[in-house]
């Protein structure tokens, strides 16, 4: 797992439920929508995360140095968890080589959210991670 993401996962593992909730919220608050230069509404369904009821979209733009910049949109205003995960993935993975991002595994969702994962949410959040990994794989092996 990429180092920054591993460090954050370790931090989440150490926190008690109340602190974990606050940390997740602080990431959700840092969420930034995909800029218009990258995509405009209505977003293409090719970038939509399947199984995510928060209506999430993801983009991965390759820079000249071979690293990736991730962008997200979360259309459901109640999609707090999706926004938190999007911000976490952006802050820990953007700027890394595509091949490194491609190694991300969706089991981080359970490690990060723990008791904050609910029935339907887990599937959608794992699908977000899988979508990021799939875009990275495609960028790494064009």
């Amino acid at each position: 797992m990429p180092e920054k993401l591993q460090q954050l996962v370790d931090t989440f593992q150490m926190f008690d439920p109340a602190d974990r909730t606050n940390l997740l919220l602080s990431y959700a608050d840092q969420f930034k929508d995909v800029p218009p230069a990258i995509a405009r509404r209505p977003f293409p369904t090719s970038h939509q995360v399947p199984q995510c009821e928060s209506d999430a979209y993801v983009w991965a733009m390759k820079k000249p140095d071979g690293t990736l910049q991730l962008y997200f949109a979360v259309e459901n205003p109640s999609g707090v968890s999706a926004k938190a995960l999007a911000a976490i993935l952006d802050k820990t993975l953007s700027g890394l080589p595509a091949s490194e991002i491609a190694s991300v595994n969706c089991d981080i969702v359970e490690k990060i959210f723990r008791q904050n994962i609910s029935m339907g949410k887990g599937m959608g959040l794992m699908a977000m991670v899988q979508a990021v990994a799939a875009l990275a794989r495609a960028a790494a092996n064009p």
């Binding site: 606050n22 959700a28 199984q51 109640s78 707090v80 968890s81 008791q115 609910s118 029935m119 339907g120």
Partner: protein
């Protein structure tokens, strides 16, 4: 804009309150607002000022057995949220009050009848740009004395469903049409939580729970529209005994609420074992 609650022709309009009513009672010490969501992060991300959080898994369900909390645990919950027997509890939440109705139903197992639901739930409150707070309120603990849990009037166990089937009683399957038909064994986009067989209980009418809701603002439809849906289109008789079910009894508590309070059905029970039990039982009848 939704028709005022008192003009919608409900049998028991007093169980619903509007977002206006709630905003006018934010400081009312006789009222305790309770947010219940599927998404446990939502309350922390901002809630109606003064509202407490009741989590459907940790606060309402027994942590070992598949059952609801004991009387002692319910008393402890009520003491923690500072509610007395005479406190009016008002539930609201995400997903069109699906979890709010579930919490409301569990509270009725303990006889806390002084309970209401905020029509439209979180989505309406947000759409109207009403105030939200991240402050978690603290209320003086109470010495709440609950009644012994009384399941029989509103909760059906599998034996009750089998007996109901023999009498050809009314059954309502509130899951999605795909779950009802057996094409899938879980909600779209949700994990399969372990039913070995797909389909529905024989004779059950397929009436997805969210049909009782106006999708724009999450409010309940007026009684005339609900009557058409349940009584005319699906031939349910208000004076007949009715059992509603879904996957684990959460969506069906929403339908239980609509049939019992909005349409005034005489006897409605929620089969919370629902499809995760029925779809795994040996030798019970199933239709596809």
């Amino acid at each position: 804009m939704a028709t005022p609650i008192e003009q919608r022709g409900y049998a028991h309009p007093e169980v619903l309150v509007s977002t206006d009513w709630v905003e006018q009672h934010l400081e009312d010490p006789k009222v305790r607002l309770i947010e219940s969501n599927e998404d446990t992060l939502l309350y922390a991300s901002g809630h109606v000022p003064g509202a407490v959080h009741v989590d459907w898994t940790s606060d309402l369900n027994d942590q070992i057995r598949r059952d609801y909390v004991s009387r002692e645990a319910f008393e402890s919950l009520m003491s923690r949220i500072g509610a007395a027997r005479e406190t009016t509890v008002v539930f609201y939440g995400d997903k069109n009050n699906w979890w709010a109705c579930y919490a409301f139903w569990v509270f009725q197992l303990f006889g806390h009848t002084n309970a209401k639901v905020m029509d439209g739930g979180r989505v309406k409150w947000l759409k109207e740009n009403r105030p939200l707070s991240r402050d978690v309120p603290s209320y003086p603990r109470t010495q709440y004395k609950a009644s012994e849990r009384n399941d029989a009037p509103i909760r059906a166990y599998r034996e009750d469903v089998l007996a109901h089937l023999k009498k050809q009683g009314q059954l309502v399957d509130v899951r999605s049409p795909e779950e009802y038909s057996g094409a899938r064994m879980h909600m779209p986009d949700y994990p399969n939580e372990g039913a070995l067989r797909g389909g529905h209980i024989p004779g059950a009418k397929s009436i997805p729970w969210a049909k009782a809701i106006n999708p724009d603002d999450g409010t309940f439809k007026p009684a005339a529209e609900l009557k058409k849906l349940y009584c005319e289109d699906n031939k349910l008789a208000p004076n007949g005994e009715t059992i509603a079910y879904c996957r684990i009894g959460e969506r069906s508590s929403h339908t239980w609420f609509a049939l019992t309070y909005l349409l005034g059905f005489d006897k409605v029970r929620n089969y919370d074992g629902s499809w995760t039990e029925w779809g795994n039982l040996v030798a019970v009848p199933i239709e596809k």
